[in-house]
Symmetry: C2
Subunit: 122 residues, 2 copies
């Protein structure tokens, strides 16, 4: 039987981030940014072309300009990309330092799994 200890009104739709540690919250935040195919596609386009502008991505992905702009903002929010003003355009590219940080963050989790387990697991 599971008795409810918390008698307050439930906070629905709200992630209880105070229950988790820094690493768990940070990894989840970055994962959330990668959790949309358009943003993965934007990243891959930046990997291919080294740098590009909003308009390129509108052409490439077939989403509206406002939508691309919103995705770019989310990618920027975790620092995975950066934008530089170039005249009337903004040139976006991967942030190399942050890229490595994020890669390492994920691999710290991935590498926590022992490569070989005797015969335990289910």
């Amino acid at each position: 039987m599971y008795l409810s200890v918390n008698l307050n009104k439930a906070e629905m739709g709200v992630t209880k981030s105070d229950l988790f540690n820094e690493m768990q919250n940070e990894l989840a935040t970055v994962a959330k940014v990668l959790a949309h195919p358009a943003r993965v596609a934007i990243i891959q386009h930046l990997l291919k072309s080294n740098a590009c502008i909003n308009g390129d991505l509108v052409q490439e992905l077939g989403l509206a300009q406002a939508t691309i702009s919103q995705h770019l903002r989310e990618l920027k929010s975790v620092g995975i990309i950066q934008g530089t003003i170039e005249g009337s355009r903004i040139s976006y590219c991967i942030n190399p330092v942050r890229w490595t940080e994020i890669k390492n963050q994920f691999n710290e989790l991935f590498d926590q799994y022992p490569t070989a387990i005797p015969g335990e697991c289910c």
Copy 2:
């Protein structure tokens, strides 16, 4: 000027997954499952203890039983964990094969970034 080509009513809140390729959709789907600190915490608990049951996680994370069950279902949905019935309990653990697959999937993306770029980027 950005003329709208699509004159149909906008499909809001709906990810246009048909615009993206298989790799992009799959990576995004897995990232979405990792995009919640509770699910990262569940994974880490499984890494530490090799296997555990729903009740353990309720104790460990301080979320309701139904909530843990929901998170476990999402983790199972991408195959990152698996559950085995053990009497009246269900023992969860990491799926080793899928774990490696996912790790490689992410690193395929991460390793697309050239380690050293001359002096191009912004």
